[in-house]
C-alpha cells in the first residue's frame, strides 16, 4: 500500500506539503509549522498502515471537531487516487453523478474542497488545464438554483474566495454598550473593596491606594431578518456568508430567513464550518427564491419570536427590498410593533443602490415610517459601513428614511 500511496521518501514530503496546501485552500487553518509537524508525525508512525498514517496526519492537522468532515473527504480523495483531477471531474459533473457513490446527505462534498484540489498546480499539464476550464463551466451552471431547495454547492471558488476574503475582515459591526457588571481596572469608576482589603491585609493596615473597577461593555444582541424571496436571491446568498461570519456562541446574533414563511436558522449558522452550516440552512429553508409575504412573516416574528429574542435591548436588521407580493393592511402595524420592541430598527435595502430610487411600491411606503435607518446593501462595502449606522443615535424616521418617506 505504501507503494501506491507514495512514490518514495522525497515524494512523501512533497505529497504531505501538497495535502496541507489543499487543506489550507479548502479553508482549514494550517500553517507551515503544521507541515513540519505532520512530517514528524508520519516519521514516527511510519507509512505501513494506512489508518495509522491517517490518524497521525489528523492529530496534527485538525484543531476542531468541525474540521473532521473536510479532512476525511480530503484524505480519501488525495491519498487514494493518484489520478486526482480526473476523479474530481467525475465527482463534479452532474451527468456522471450516477457513477459515484452518493455523498452523505448530511455533509455533501464541499465544492471548495473539490475546487481547492482542482486548482492545485500539481500536474500542470495542458490536459489538466483544459479540464479545469471544463470544471468551471460545470460549476457555474446554475439552473438548479431556482429549484425550491437551493443548492449552494454550485458557488464557484472565485466567487466564494472573493466574498469570503472580504467577509473575513468583517466583524459584528456593533458598538459595545456598558453593562451592569464590572471588571478590575487601573482607572475605574467604582472602588474595588475586595481587592483593596486584600491588599491592606497583606500590608498590615498600611494606607494603600484604592483598587478600582469599571463597567464591562458588551455588544447588544443582534436579530437579523433576511428576505430570501426571488427578488432578493442574489443578495441573500451573499448575506448568508456574512451572517455566518458574525454568528458565534459569544455574541448574541439571531438570524431568521423569510420568504413566504419564517425560518430561524441561528442554530445552523452556529456550525463553524461554513459549508456544513450553509448545507443545513438550505435543508431547513423550504421557500427559497419564491414569493414574499413580508407582513405575514413579520406578524409571525412579532408573535412567536420577538419576546424571546428582543428582550435585552436588541438591534434588528431587516434585510429586504420591501417588494411584498401581498401588501396587506397589516404590514404597517407589524412594522410599528417591531420598531417599538427593539432598540433600533435598521432596514437594509439593495434597491437603494439605484440613484433614482423612489419609495413608490406600497410595501416600502408602509414600512418606511417605522425604521430608524434606511441603508443600501448591494455589496460588501455597504456591509462594512454598517458600523457607523449602528453607532448613530437617530430615532424613528432617522437617516435616509425621512428623505424617501417624503
Amino acid at each position: 500500500m505504501a507503494d501506491r500511496l507514495l512514490f518514495g521518501r522525497a515524494h512523501l514530503a512533497e505529497n504531505i506539503l501538497h495535502f496541507v496546501r489543499v487543506l489550507r485552500k479548502a479553508g482549514l487553518p494550517v500553517g507551515p509549522a503544521k507541515v513540519i509537524a505532520a512530517m514528524e508525525a508520519v516519521e514516527a508512525v511510519g507509512v505501513d498502515n494506512r489508518e495509522d498514517f491517517r490518524a497521525a496526519l489528523e492529530s496534527v492537522l485538525i484543531e476542531r471537531h468541525e474540521q473532521q468532515v473536510l479532512f476525511d473527504q480530503a484524505f480519501e480523495l488525495f491519498w487514494r487516487n493518484p489520478q486526482l483531477l480526473e476523479r474530481m471531474l467525475q465527482m463534479l459533473l452532474p451527468k456522471v453523478y450516477g457513477r459515484v457513490p452518493p455523498a452523505d446527505a448530511e455533509a455533501p462534498l464541499p465544492s471548495r474542497l473539490a475546487e481547492a484540489m482542482a486548482a492545485m498546480p500539481r500536474k500542470p499539464s495542458i490536459e489538466a488545464q483544459e479540464q479545469e476550464i471544463d470544471l468551471d463551466a460545470a460549476l457555474s451552471f446554475s439552473s438548479r438554483e431556482v429549484l425550491q431547495s437551493k443548492d449552494f454547492e454550485t458557488m464557484t471558488v472565485a466567487e466564494l474566495a472573493q466574498v469570503r476574503l472580504m467577509i473575513a475582515r468583517l466583524r459584528l459591526p456593533l458598538p459595545e454598550l456598558p453593562t451592569r457588571r464590572t471588571r478590575p481596572a487601573a482607572k475605574g469608576t467604582e472602588v474595588d473593596l475586595r481587592a483593596t482589603l486584600r491588599a491592606m491585609a497583606s500590608a498590615r493596615g498600611a494606607v494603600l491606594p484604592l483598587a478600582w473597577r469599571r463597567r464591562r461593555t458588551r455588544r447588544p444582541p443582534l436579530v437579523v431578518l433576511c428576505d430570501i424571496s426571488g427578488s432578493m436571491d442574489r443578495y441573500a446568498r451573499m448575506l448568508l456568508f456574512f451572517l455566518h461570519a458574525i454568528t458565534n456562541d459569544r455574541d448574541r446574533v439571531h438570524t431568521l430567513l423569510f420568504g413566504t414563511r419564517l425560518t430561524n436558522i441561528t442554530r445552523h449558522l452556529r456550525q463553524r464550518d461554513v459549508d456544513v452550516a450553509i448545507a443545513r440552512v438550505s435543508a431547513a429553508v423550504t421557500d427559497w427564491a419564491g414569493g414574499t409575504r413580508i407582513g405575514a412573516c413579520l406578524a409571525e416574528f412579532n408573535r412567536r419570536w420577538s419576546r424571546r429574542l428582543l428582550g435585552q435591548g436588541a438591534i434588528v436588521l431587516l434585510i429586504t427590498d420591501g417588494l411584498d407580493s401581498d401588501v396587506g393592511d397589516g404590514l404597517a402595524q407589524e412594522m410599528d410593533r417591531l420598531g417599538k420592541s427593539c432598540r433600533r430598527l435598521i432596514w437594509l435595502n439593495p434597491l437603494l443602490r439605484y440613484e433614482h430610487f423612489e419609495a413608490r411600491p406600497a410595501g416600502i411606503r408602509a414600512m418606511l415610517p417605522f425604521v430608524d435607518e434606511f441603508l443600501p446593501v448591494h455589496n460588501l462595502e455597504s456591509l462594512t459601513q454598517l458600523t457607523a449606522a449602528f453607532s448613530r443615535h437617530a430615532r424613528r424616521g432617522g437617516v435616509n428614511a425621512e428623505r424617501f418617506a417624503a
Binding site: R180, L197, A201, R204, R337
Partner: protein
C-alpha cells in the same frame, strides 16, 4: 419546625398541592414528584401569569420549608446572589490588629477572609440554612439575567456547592429544593436545562381554571366564575399578542366582585378589560361587537352548566 415528609407518589403531590390551593395537572405534578425524588432542580418555563412562581411558594408552605427567593435581573452578580465580604467589619478588624500590633500578615489575611466576615446572599443561604432544613430555593425569571450568571449557576445546580476563592468550596449538607422559572424572553442555555427537569407550564383547562377561581376568589358567584373562565378561555383561543394568564383571570374575577357584578354584560367587560389584556392592540381587538358576541356565548355555556348541575 420539622419538615414534612416528601410525597410518595404523583397523586400525593396533587393532593398536597391542592390542600394548599394549587391545582396542578398530572404532568406538572409528575415533574414536581420527580424533582423531589431525584433531587434535581425543576425548570419551569411558560407564559407570564400561569403560576410558576406560585408553585415554588406553595411547595415551601406544603413541605414546611422556608423559601429563599432570588429575583434575577440583568447584571446580577455573585455579590448580590451568593455572598459578599463585610468590608466595614474587615476594615475595623485590620485597624484593631494594627493597634495590637502583634499579628503577622498571613494570619491577618486568613482572619479577615474567614466565615465571620461573610455576608450570605440567597444562594449561600439556601445551601447553608440557619435551621439546617434545606429550603426551597426559587430562582425567579432566570431569563432576565445574562449568560455569565447562568454559567455561574452550573456549579450550584450540579453539585449544590459554591466556591469562594478565599475559603474553598462550600457544599450543602442536604440539597435544597430548587425551582427555576423563566418567561422565555430569551433561550436559557442547554447546559442549564440539562441539569434540570424541564416542564412547560401551559394555560390550565377550563375545568382546572374554574376550580382555581372558585378557591381563590370565594366571593365570586358560581355563575360569574363560570362566565369569567369561559370568557378567558375564549380570549386565549383568539389571535392575541398576549393571552391572559391565570393571574389575570383571578384579577378580573376580583375586579368584578368588587364591582358587585353577578354576571357578565358587554359594558362591564369593556370597562374592566384592562384587568385581562395588557396590550392596546389586544384591547382594541375586543370591539363592542366582539365583546357582546363573546358574552352571549359564555352566558349560554355557563347557563347550561348551571342547569346541568341543578
Amino acid at each position: 419546625m420539622p419538615s414534612t415528609l416528601l410525597p410518595e407518589s404523583v397523586d400525593a403531590v396533587i393532593a398536597l398541592l391542592e390542600r394548599h390551593d394549587y391545582f396542578a395537572d398530572r404532568r406538572l405534578a409528575t415533574s414536581v414528584f420527580l424533582a423531589l425524588k431525584m433531587r434535581r432542580p425543576l425548570f419551569l418555563e411558560g407564559e407570564a401569569g400561569v403560576g410558576k412562581t406560585e408553585l415554588a411558594k406553595v411547595l415551601a408552605t406544603a413541605l414546611s420549608r422556608s423559601m429563599v427567593r432570588l429575583q434575577c435581573y440583568e447584571g446580577l452578580d455573585t455579590a448580590s446572589a451568593v455572598y459578599e465580604w463585610n468590608y466595614p467589619r474587615q476594615m475595623i478588624e485590620i485597624r484593631l490588629t494594627e493597634a495590637e500590633g502583634k499579628v503577622d500578615r498571613e494570619t491577618l489575611a486568613t482572619n479577615i477572609f474567614s466565615e465571620r466576615f461573610l455576608i450570605r446572599r440567597p444562594i449561600l443561604q439556601a445551601l447553608q440554612p440557619d435551621d439546617g432544613i434545606p429550603p426551597v430555593l426559587l430562582i425567579d425569571e432566570l431569563d432576565r439575567t445574562d449568560e455569565p450568571f447562568e454559567a455561574y449557576l452550573l456549579e450550584v445546580l450540579a453539585e449544590y456547592q459554591v466556591t469562594i476563592p478565599e475559603l474553598g468550596p462550600i457544599k450543602a449538607a442536604s440539597p435544597p429544593i430548587v425551582v427555576i422559572t423563566s418567561n422565555r424572553t430569551r433561550e436559557i442555555h442547554d447546559a442549564i436545562k440539562r441539569r434540570c427537569l424541564y416542564h412547560w407550564v401551559d394555560f390550565p383547562s377550563a375545568e382546572r381554571e374554574l376550580a382555581i377561581v372558585r378557591r381563590k376568589v370565594p366571593g365570586a358567584d358560581a355563575r360569574l366564575s363560570r362566565e369569567v373562565v369561559a370568557f378567558t378561555q375564549r380570549l386565549r383561543a383568539m389571535d392575541l399578542f398576549k393571552s391572559p394568564g391565570i393571574a389575570e383571570t383571578l384579577d378580573w374575577a376580583e375586579a368584578l366582585v368588587a364591582l358587585d357584578r353577578m354576571s357578565l354584560d358587554p359594558e362591564t367587560v369593556a370597562d374592566t378589560l384592562g384587568a385581562l389584556l395588557k396590550y392596546q392592540d389586544d384591547v382594541g381587538a375586543i370591539t363592542p361587537q366582539v365583546a357582546a358576541q363573546l358574552v352571549a356565548e359564555v352566558r349560554i355555556e355557563a347557563g347550561k352548566a348551571v342547569e346541568a348541575r341543578v
